[in-house]
């Protein structure tokens, strides 16, 4: 294996590895060893050294010789990256760095677009290709190509280009493999760029070979297509006029346009605009704003060529994206302006005030056109045509002067339009996605010019007229469309979103948490509580309400959808299925469900393990499936939904199901089940729970993918760390469901404050079923093994909190205290406490960073008096209590 290939392999493995997944760490360390050998052979000693150190370290992680796994793992990752860059630098000439800000923005956007492309490819593969998706993928690749070009990422650009030609050329099948390989490569590229904007582009050999494989497999016409691909690319701007061709006479440049009625508005086909249009509108406005700032700088006498570049880039980007979104009118204007700016840039035309005026006019008109996407008024057709003519003329150095008075007005009367129009018109149709809003807007643009124009002319600012013209046509569809609009919840608000750094957001959420504590401290202060004044109490309760609202609002800031997580899973299923030689179809449901950002980040790992498990062990090979009368293709369902106060995520497969017998046999072997127990009576839930134990595997063969019995343990640990629970349902031969129940948010919980002796504890309200003061007849002792209480026909074990937390104090007589009936998943039990002090929301805090995990305690909270109360982890508590009971 060559140096390049081995580093590629190591980097790839590194990306797929996580600190908790020990098998993949082993694989990684082997790859790193290989890399060290290769590097030594090729005379790159530093790479050899770094990689062998990294290999050592990753083995140390596996053999648990390191204290902080995360940290060590990070070191390994850094080493891999360092090797990667070192090799690149040794082989590739340094790249001229692009504008770092632009680059970062691109990298960020890639982090969402790449998974989307993958997702498109993977879903298309499983559902069969339509021309639509193929075209969509091609469009996206094309966008990528353009962006890479702007950022002078030459390798990336050429790869995208080749892939594009490949897609064009392949008439027989879609080159999915190549698309995915390219996505992987782009991911490693963006990851490298994020760390170092000047990073060299990674080795392309893998992608190139994938591309050539794919092209060999496809039509021999590829060659021809490759040469014509550039032309195809240009065809993406179909409506772009040929500037040279359309030269108007100097004397009366716009005479022929007089035939266009003055009131005729620009018509845009908004029917087929895709959902990205809203994002485009948002971005385009930013670009235009940047361009305008730059123009104003230039106007004030600056001669900085970079400013011209900024303006040029703005129009160029708008043109490109509008082209993909099939908005020919926008392309038309942007192209003309871009063409002019290009001449300025190459010093063919001097940067005169005339040019700047034209640029501003174009920017205004574009703003208006873009505003149409959000339901804004259309500009006049004649204005557009005249502007384009003037731009074209300017390219030849002619400035036919201001056109007829009204016609040249875009520069003056439409400037305030873009933003306010978008905002005010959508007041009526605000909840509409651009897609659904389109029919509502069209009539106002085409059929009712007569109605809307007088309004525009009489009103002083267009923004005030907008509400008066559009509500009528917009109102009716708005009602019908609202249900669909809800589904597009994210995209329709795009024009009102703001990018905020997560740090600031977390700081805000933390502050609000402190505010909640401070507010409670005031309210619970005995002095305040003793005030009989009604007004004070009323104001305090008002304050409480505001604080709660504020808290809810700030928490909602952190909510994100599961979409990207689920999209990653689609890719995983495909890869695992291919590796295991099975055919698996993934069905996804509820990807719009929102969860706290932190939770979403944490469930990735458990999901990966659950899905790997389901694909590898759950779903049978095609032959076995057919033999038992199932379809050849297995189905994996990934579902997310709300249930009670939590979110449930389920992974369901229609495979062979868990084998009760085999688990029980294994348990008996390991001595986990008392051999004297009647195995038939052990409930399913208990049996299935054993598979979460570390090292427990019933797999007969250990494969690459799973089978070592590590995964499920990781699943449970991660989910419990999130204060969630996991549950298994399974029917032999029919399949199994792994169900994760997760809290909506991690930072704040509703808790019941209970007292034991002088100590107070917080029990999450969600886990409390009920509480009662037991009577003597409800209490029994079973064979000296423990106390039980009869709760509505069920006998539940009683655990004394005081005993579990080794407290010397507290009530000892059950009849004088309270029993809380706690439930966690299927487990129920009574917990004995002295009394309940009240209910309140608390901010969960860790008990110091280096504190080892305490069974039964999930964290601490600061109560109103400033003292710390421990938060009871009901799951852990019940579990440890049960094991203690069994052991006793």
């Amino acid at each position: 294996m060559g140096l390049k290939a081995s580093i590629q392999a190591a980097a790839k493995a590194a990306v797929l590895t996580d600190a908790g997944d020990l098998q993949s760490l082993v694989v990684l360390s082997e790859l790193l060893r290989q890399l060290a050998t290769d590097a030594a052979a090729e005379g790159v000693p530093e790479v050899a050294r770094t990689s062998s150190d990294a290999a050592e370290l990753s083995e140390a992680i596996v053999l648990r010789q390191v204290n902080d796994v995360e940290k060590a793992f990070q070191k390994v990752m850094d080493a891999v990256r360092a090797c990667d860059t070192a090799v690149e630098q040794a082989s590739a000439p340094p790249r001229e760095p692009a504008d770092p800000e632009l680059l970062l923005a691109w990298v960020t956007s890639c982090e969402s677009t790449l998974p989307e492309i993958e997702h498109l490819a993977v879903t298309a593969e499983s559902r069969g290709f339509t021309g639509e998706t193929a075209a969509e993928i091609r469009r996206r690749i094309h966008t990528l190509k353009g962006e890479c070009g702007v950022l002078s990422l030459s390798e990336a650009q050429s790869l995208c280009h080749e892939l594009e030609s490949l897609i064009d050329a392949s008439t027989t099948g879609f080159p999915i493999e190549a698309v995915l390989v390219l996505c992987d490569w782009m991911k490693s590229l963006t990851a490298a760029l994020r760390n170092d904007p000047a990073a060299a582009e990674p080795d392309t050999s893998v992608v190139r070979s994938a591309l050539s494989d794919a092209s060999n497999g496809s039509d021999p016409a590829t060659e021809a297509a490759t040469t014509t691909a550039t032309t195809t690319a240009n065809a993406a701007t179909p409506a772009a006029p040929q500037p040279e061709a359309a030269v108007a006479p100097v004397e009366n440049p716009f005479a022929d346009l007089d035939s266009i009625p003055y009131d005729q508005r620009v018509v845009m086909d908004l029917e087929n605009v895709d959902e990205n249009a809203a994002d485009f509108a948002l971005e385009a406005r930013e670009h235009l704003a940047n361009a305008e700032t730059a123009v104003l700088t230039l106007e004030s006498g600056a001669t900085d060529p970079e400013q011209v570049n900024i303006v040029f880039r703005a129009f160029h980007t708008i043109k490109g994206v509008a082209g993909f979104l099939n908005l020919p009118r926008i392309v038309e204007v942007a192209h003309a302006a871009e063409f002019l700016l290009d001449k300025v840039r190459s010093n063919k035309i001097a940067l005169s005030p005339n040019v700047l005026e034209l640029v501003l006019a174009s920017s205004d008109l574009l703003g208006q056109l873009i505003g149409m996407l959000g339901g804004g008024d259309a500009p006049r057709e004649r204005d557009l045509k005249i502007l384009v003519r003037r731009l074209e003329a300017a390219c030849e150095g002619r400035f036919p002067g201001a056109a007829p008075t009204e016609a040249s007005t875009p520069a003056t009367d439409s400037r305030p339009v873009p933003a306010p129009a978008g905002a005010s018109v959508s007041a009526g149709a605000k909840s509409l996605a651009p897609v659904t809003a389109a029919p509502a807007v069209n009539p106002s643009a085409t059929d009712v010019p007569a109605a809307s124009v007088p309004a525009v002319e009489t009103a002083s600012t267009p923004s005030t007229t907008a509400p008066s013209t559009s509500p009528t046509p917009a109102a009716a569809p708005a009602g019908e469309a609202s249900s669909t609009a809800a589904k597009h919840g994210m995209s329709n608000k795009a024009d009102q979103t703001v990018k905020v750094s997560t740090q600031r957001m977390d700081a805000l959420v933390n502050l609000v948490g402190e505010l909640v504590i401070a507010q409670l401290m005031v309210v619970q202060d005995p002095v305040v509580g003793g005030l009989a004044d009604q007004r004070v109490q009323r104001n305090l309760s008002h304050l409480g309400k505001i604080v709660r609202d504020l808290q809810e609002t700030s928490m909602s800031l952190r909510m994100v959808t599961l979409k990207s997580t689920f999209q990653k899973m689609a890719r995983l299923v495909r890869d695992v299925a291919a590796k295991a030689g099975k055919r698996i179809q993934l069905e996804v449901e509820g990807e719009d469900v929102e969860l706290d950002r932190n939770v979403v980040e944490e469930i990735g790992d458990p999901l990966v393990h659950m899905i790997r498990n389901a694909c590898d062990h759950g779903i049978e090979p095609a032959a076995d499936r057919v033999a038992v009368g199932k379809t050849e293709t297995g189905t994996l369902r990934l579902r997310a939904f709300h249930s009670g106060g939590s979110i449930v995520i389920e992974v369901e497969d229609d495979g062979r199901g868990l084998s009760r017998e085999r688990i029980i046999r294994k348990c008996l072997e390991k001595g986990l089940i008392d051999p004297s127990r009647n195995t038939a009576e052990i409930p399913d839930s208990e049996v299935f729970n054993y598979i979460f134990l570390p090292g427990f595997s019933t797999a007969e063969k250990v494969t690459d993918i799973s089978g070592r019995g590590v995964g499920m343990d990781v699943v449970r640990r991660n989910i419990e760390a999130l204060r969630g629970s996991v549950e298994i349902r399974s029917t032999p031969g029919k399949g199994s469901v792994f169900s994760m129940r997760l809290p909506l948010t991690m930072a704040i919980i509703d808790g019941m404050v209970v007292r034991v002796g002088s100590q107070r504890y917080i029990v999450p309200t969600l886990n409390i079923e009920r509480s009662f003061r037991p009577t003597a007849e409800q209490l029994t002792t079973v064979l000296g093994k423990g106390e039980v209480a009869k709760v509505r026909d069920a006998l539940l074990p009683i655990h004394r909190l005081q005993r579990m937390f080794n407290l010397a104090e507290g009530e000892r007589e059950l009849e004088k205290g309270l029993l809380l009936v706690l439930e966690n998943g299927k487990r129920r039990a009574c917990v004995f406490v002295d009394e309940i002090l009240g209910q309140q929301q608390v901010v969960i805090k860790t008990l110091g960073d280096s504190q080892p995990q305490i069974r039964g305690v999930s964290g601490g909270a600061i109560l109103g008096d400033g003292r710390v109360a421990l938060i009871v982890d009901v799951g852990g508590l019940l579990e440890s209590a049960t094991t203690a009971l069994v052991a006793a």
Binding site: L22, Q23, V26, E59, V62, L63, R64, N67, D68, V69, K71, A72, E514, I517, P694, G695, V702, R708, G709, V710, D713, V714, R717, Q759, M804, F805, N806, L807, K845, T846, L847, G848, D849, S850, Q851, P852, Q853, I854, R855, G856, V857, G860, I862, G866, R867, V868, A869, L870
Partner: protein
């Protein structure tokens, strides 16, 4: 509760401008101890401490340090000295120590009383005696000789470093290590 910030102690610095050889001295019973001033974050009066279950006896519990929960250890217990009741001089020294990985552990230590900030140059520090010491040697940085007495200088990282972390993940790693052994054998 009285609060002295680290900065306050810094302003009370002696002739030597550097904080490097400065130690905060405190008492446990009749013995004097010292910790590097750079490790001391602040000193606060004794406030309510919430006990933690399943922790070694020297861990007194956790307390609220202005909205942050930090663990508190009892140095008397840690060093195997007899317990004593809290007096009005009893206070919590908030210490921070760097972990092996560079992160910081913040922890409170209950001491009988805080004395002063002392300059103890390296020349005045001697290695701990081989025997005859009540405190395990690994906790001791050295013996600082002052004019009138000897101060036991503590190795904070060892004292609060919680090296004896719980055996979380022990089981999982065992199984994984077995897996590797298997794999290598194969």
């Amino acid at each position: 509760m009285s609060t002295h910030d680290r900065n306050d102690s810094n302003t009370a610095r002696g002739t030597n401008g550097s904080n490097e050889h400065k130690f905060l001295t405190f008492c446990l019973g009749n013995e004097h101890f010292g910790v590097e001033i750079l490790r001391v974050r602040e000193i606060i009066g004794l406030i309510a401490i919430t006990p933690l279950p399943q922790t070694p006896p020297y861990v007194k519990g956790v307390m609220n340090l202005r909205g942050r929960i930090i663990p508190v250890i009892d140095l008397r217990q840690r060093f195997g000295l007899s317990a004593s009741d809290a007096t009005k001089e009893t206070c919590v020294v908030v210490l921070e120590a760097a972990n092996d990985d560079g992160s910081q552990t913040v922890m409170g230590a209950v001491v009988d009383s805080v004395r002063e900030v002392q300059d103890i140059p390296p020349a005045a520090i001697e290695p701990p005696p081989e025997f005859g010491c009540e405190i395990p040697l690994k906790y001791i940085l050295g013996m600082g000789k002052l004019k009138d007495r000897v101060v036991v200088l503590l190795e904070i990282a060892e004292v609060i470093g919680m090296r004896e972390r719980a055996q979380i993940a022990g089981a999982i790693k065992d199984s994984a290590a077995a897996g590797i052994a298997e794999r290598r054998a194969a």
